[in-house]
């Protein structure tokens, strides 16, 4: 059985949602790691869930990115341990420098929670074993600061290296201004690290795994991860 370590900073609130997704779909063992711990321990994957770490005061993810456990997170990242950051987790990964760019306030300045469509753009063995480039997934978003920004040369690098994981799109997969919920540059919803071992994304696949959620497209991500980790 694979072990997934879920980092819990004070104010994180989707840790049980993601643990449920990994245990139910991935058949993994999900352990919570408290932010005051100094080491994460042996993990097949490290997950940083959504929420409002440290109240998101100062800047989303900024304080979490400087908390004690982050030193070990960076060490494990350097060793190639896979990392998944969702929503606040993505913001934290960006703040630590493990992923490129920044997440700004939504261009409408309001928190948005709704279902969106996203198109798979790049491949990473660890995350997209069950998703093909061009696939359209329906998943919820729930954030106030998901407006992805990176300098033009960084965006070019992401594009040239196929490191954009997902882009917001319409139901037919067309990447349009209308389907961009928060003003993200080039509709970017999620990105990989250069070594494709880290995925950060704003949408919540963990809230799209049951019929009553309004769709089960999130299952494909977790099934793919489970298959990749087991391989």
């Amino acid at each position: 059985m694979q072990t997934v370590k879920i980092l819990v900073f004070p104010g994180i609130n989707r840790e049980h949602d993601i643990a449920h997704a990994f245990t139910r779909i991935g058949n993994a063992k999900a352990d919570f790691v408290w932010h005051k711990d100094s080491t994460i321990g042996k993990a097949d994957m490290i997950v940083i869930p959504g929420g409002f770490s440290y109240g998101d005061y100062l800047r989303c993810g900024a304080m979490a990115a400087n908390s004690p456990i982050i030193r070990d997170l960076k060490d494990q990242a350097a060793k190639g341990v896979p990392i998944l950051g969702i929503c606040n987790g993505f913001q934290i990964l960006v703040e630590t420098g493990l992923l490129a760019g920044a997440l700004l306030r939504n261009n409408g300045l309001k928190f948005i929670c709704k279902h969106v469509f996203m198109r798979a753009e790049g491949a990473a063995d660890l995350f997209t074993a069950n998703i093909t480039k061009g696939d359209v997934l329906r998943v919820p978003i729930a954030h106030g600061e998901g407006n992805y920004y990176a300098a033009p040369d960084t965006v070019k690098h992401l594009n040239d290296s196929d490191l954009v994981a997902f882009r917001y799109c319409d139901a037919n997969g067309a990447v349009t201004p209308e389907s961009n919920p928060n003003g993200s540059v080039e509709n970017i919803a999620g990105i990989f690290s250069d070594n494709r071992k880290i995925l950060g994304m704003m949408p919540h696949p963990e809230n799209a795994i049951d019929a009553f959620h309004g769709g089960t497209d999130g299952i494909r991500l977790f099934e793919g991860i489970a298959a990749a980790l087991a391989a």
């Binding site: 004070p10 104010g11 609130n13 989707r14 049980h16 949602d17 449920h20 408290w34 005051k36 959504g50 929420g51 409002f52 440290y54 109240g55 998101d56 005061y57 309001k110 928190f111 948005i112 929670c113 709704k114 279902h115 329906r138 919820p140 729930a142 106030g144 319409d170 139901a171 037919n172 919540h204 963990e206 809230n207 795994i209 049951d210 009553f212 959620h213 309004g214």
Partner: protein
């Protein structure tokens, strides 16, 4: 100048002898009437000092003592076999089987939200969340009932924007989904908006915590945020009317910190597992005063507090300020003696302040020590038991005669014009602009979000998480204030009946309600008449529907410059769904399904949205509420819902009548925007009257089914009128006059008004 060269500001240590001398005028400024002040003097046998005056004034405020409302509230039924805790604790509790209980309450934060909408609404959410988790429950859902002034009023846009952002800020950060509620607009709320927040929590029946139960010689512990000078006299403010200078009261509005509350929630739930707590009470209105007095009163004990030990964030605070502060995110706990270290370690883990600030005593006094002096020494029981209780004079309410059907013709543009006006009017237009700012999905248990069903539906995980559970709670908030104004007794009954009906329409067995009574100045007999009659109507409905009141809140003095709001007894209802996979939502599902009206034909147009929006008339009586018929029709719907696959959608008929209900069902078929919209082809032999299509007669539902034969037979068997209205078809809705309109067009008309208004 270098800062190091400056002397440190040393605030002089406060001394009791420096406090102002209490006078009759000062008592009046504290909101105590001359009679009430005389009663204080007689209880003490002396003049109160300034600190004591402050404590009496908040404990005897309308907000804390319910002095104008208790007499009438006692009429409400509060008992049923499934009621574990009725009114009187922090929240009501009902048994939902399998060793689980639902804990819920609704509470107003009207006055603060008008003065400072963001913080007022945010702390309203924070306060009601604490009421629920104080009892050991994990909050699983928030709802809110909001009433704003007319869209044309210059303050409405700012108030709406601030309130919604405040609710979103607090609820989202806490990780509790905000799943439902209602939002209305009416000019009577121009100077007094209503913000009623409801939280539903889940607790194991053997792990419930109460404020009662404290004994003698036990440590009194303060946990949570530090105390500052914010919110002093909030409870007193909430017990007075506004005038044009209302905004000057802004310093009495508290400031919320949802991050601390999230930590406090987790810390409290962990503390509750540790077996150290004897009793616990959150510090809400009147802060440390009401929490310590409640615990002492319910335990039949006294409390001595050493206020030097209270965690403070400002210097030189006086006991008066500390006791009256409404700083947020604080709890008062009575611990088992000797367990202080265990409890402290849990608080340390969560970085929450922990301080032993006193102990319980056999002598039933509230005694406050600080800076080496005693500042207050008053008996506990009179603060509660001798609080004033008024049977305020009531003026009889009158009901206007009906204007008759002829007063409400169809407009010149016919059904199409009427429908297009109604679905775009402020009360019926889509509230997506609001609820998309709320995290509706966190926790992953939300089965029905806003606009999907007549009530929000949230799954209930099993006690043992490994056991599959299909149980869910349905929850809704309801009130039709214009009915309550037209006929308070009928309006009170209708509010309860509509709540019950909304839960039934999801297939839930309605179990109990919380009530949030929002009214004007109780010292005016016509307002007290509205209050008393609304209660009588609610009582009748609660009894007829087996739907008791388990918690509630009263907000009076919702008046500005002598003009009161429409009487608004908001009802928060909770029901149980045995299997969420069979829960009913309102959207048309399948082309070819038959659409039926369950219940009688519409006849009543007085006080309808059709009358108000098309004819600018708000006259005549409210629709009649026949509680026996309501019960019978609802039981039929529940019987249908129990039949596998019989119903494919269900929607109650309320604002806007039958045609608006059908349009809701059609529009709801467009959930994600990429489906084929489903409308309805009407059968041709239906009446063409406005009353049939827009009447707001009660006890009615609209359902769809793929099993017409069975449906008809079932209705006959139950003696329920059933009328075929049409068939579900793709894309279009036919209107009664044969004209056709696209569902997408209607949806656009329904979605646009609020964003257009807010972006103006």
């Amino acid at each position: 100048m270098k800062s190091s060269a400056q002397p440190k500001p040393t605030a002089a240590t406060p001394r009791p002898q420096d406090l102002p001398i209490v006078t009759a005028q000062m008592a009046k400024e504290h909101g105590l009437s001359p009679d009430e002040y005389a009663r204080v003097q007689s209880i003490l046998g002396r003049e109160p000092n300034f600190t004591e005056l402050g404590i009496f004034s908040v404990m005897w405020s309308e907000h804390c003592s319910y002095k104008s409302s208790r007499h009438f509230l006692s009429r409400l039924p509060t008992k049923a076999d499934w009621v574990i805790q009725g009114p009187g604790e922090n929240a009501g509790i009902i048994d939902i089987g399998d060793g689980q209980a639902a804990v819920f309450k609704m509470e107003s934060h009207n006055h603060p939200s008008f003065i400072e909408p963001f913080q007022g609404a945010a702390t309203g959410v924070g306060g009601i969340l604490r009421d629920v988790f104080t009892m050991g429950a994990r909050p699983i859902a928030n709802l809110n009932a909001l009433r704003f002034g007319a869209l044309s009023h210059p303050k409405t846009r700012r108030l709406l924007s601030g309130v919604v952002a405040g609710i979103a800020h607090y609820g989202n950060c806490m990780g509790i989904p905000t799943v439902g509620g209602e939002t209305n607009f009416h000019e009577s709320y121009n100077g007094n908006i209503l913000v009623n927040a409801m939280t539903v929590g889940l607790v194991d029946t053997d792990k419930i915590f109460y404020s009662r139960g404290a004994g003698v010689g036990q440590p009194v512990v303060y946990i949570g945020s530090k105390t500052g000078r914010d919110g002093i006299h909030g409870a007193t403010m909430a017990s007075a009317e506004f005038d044009d200078a209302a905004e000057e009261k802004r310093p009495t509005v508290q400031v919320g910190d949802p991050f601390v509350e999230k930590l406090l929630l987790e810390a409290c739930l962990e503390l509750m597992q540790s077996g150290t707590i004897i009793s616990i009470q959150d510090m809400g209105a009147a802060g440390l005063t009401s929490s310590s007095v409640e615990i002492a009163d319910k335990g039949g004990i006294g409390i001595t507090l050493d206020l030097d030990n209270v965690p403070m964030r400002e210097t030189a605070m006086t006991p008066y300020e500390i006791m009256l502060s409404e700083s947020q995110e604080r709890m008062l706990v009575i611990l088992k003696p000797g367990s202080e270290d265990t409890a402290r370690a849990i608080m340390d883990k969560w970085d929450i302040d922990f301080a032993v600030i006193g102990y319980t005593t056999a002598e039933r006094q509230l005694c406050l020590n600080m800076y080496g002096s005693t500042w207050c020494d008053i008996p506990v029981p009179p603060l509660v038991d001798d609080a004033p209780k008024y049977v305020r004079p009531t003026a009889p309410t009158t009901v206007q005669p009906s204007l008759g059907e002829a007063a409400y013709p169809l407009p010149s543009g016919g059904f199409k014009a009427a429908l297009e006006t109604l679905i775009a009017c402020p009360d019926l237009c889509s509230k997506r602009w609001l609820w998309e700012q709320y995290d509706t999905m966190v926790r992953g248990e939300t089965v029905a979000r806003p606009a999907q069903a007549d009530a929000a539906i949230v799954r209930v995980p099993a006690r043992d998480e490994k056991t599959p559970s299909y149980k869910a709670l349905a929850m809704a908030s309801d009130c039709t204030p214009r009915y309550c104004f037209a006929d308070p007794k009928t309006g009170g009954a209708q509010a309860v009946a509509e709540s019950w009906r909304n839960l039934v329409a999801t297939g839930a067995r309605p179990l109990a309600i919380t009530d949030n009574m929002n009214f004007g100045n109780p010292e005016r007999p016509e307002i007290m008449g509205q209050f008393a009659d609304c209660i009588e109507g609610m009582r009748d409905a609660c009894l007829a529907l087996d739907y008791p009141v388990v918690s509630g809140n009263v907000s009076l003095y919702n008046e500005t410059n002598g003009k009161g709001i429409l009487p608004t007894p908001t009802i928060g209802g909770v029901g149980l769904i045995a299997d969420y996979r069979r829960a009913l939502t309102l959207d048309f599902k399948q082309e070819g399904d038959a659409v039926y009206l369950v219940g009688a034909f519409g006849t009543h147009l007085d006080q309808t949205l059709f009358a108000r929006e098309i004819h600018a008339l708000e006259k005549g009586p409210a629709p009649r509420v026949d509680l026996a018929l309501e019960r019978k029709t609802g039981e039929f719907i529940l019987a249908c819902a129990a039949q596998d696959g019989l119903l494919s959608a269900c929607h109650d008929l309320s604002d806007g009548g039958l045609l608006c209900a059908l349009t809701d069902m059609a529009m709801a078929s467009l959930r994600y925007g990429n489906e084929t919209p489903l409308g309805i082809a009407l059968v041709s032999d239906l009446p063409h009257s406005a009353a049939f299509w827009f009447g707001e007669d009660q006890a009615r539902y609209c359902v769809t089914t793929a099993q017409s034969g069975k449906m008809v037979a079932f209705a006959q068997e139950h003696g329920i009128p059933l009328t075929r209205i049409g068939t579900v078809v793709p894309h279009d809705m036919t209107l009664p006059d044969g004209s056709i309109v696209q569902v997408k067009t209607l949806k656009d008309l329904n979605e646009r008004p609020l964003p257009d208004y807010m972006n103006k």
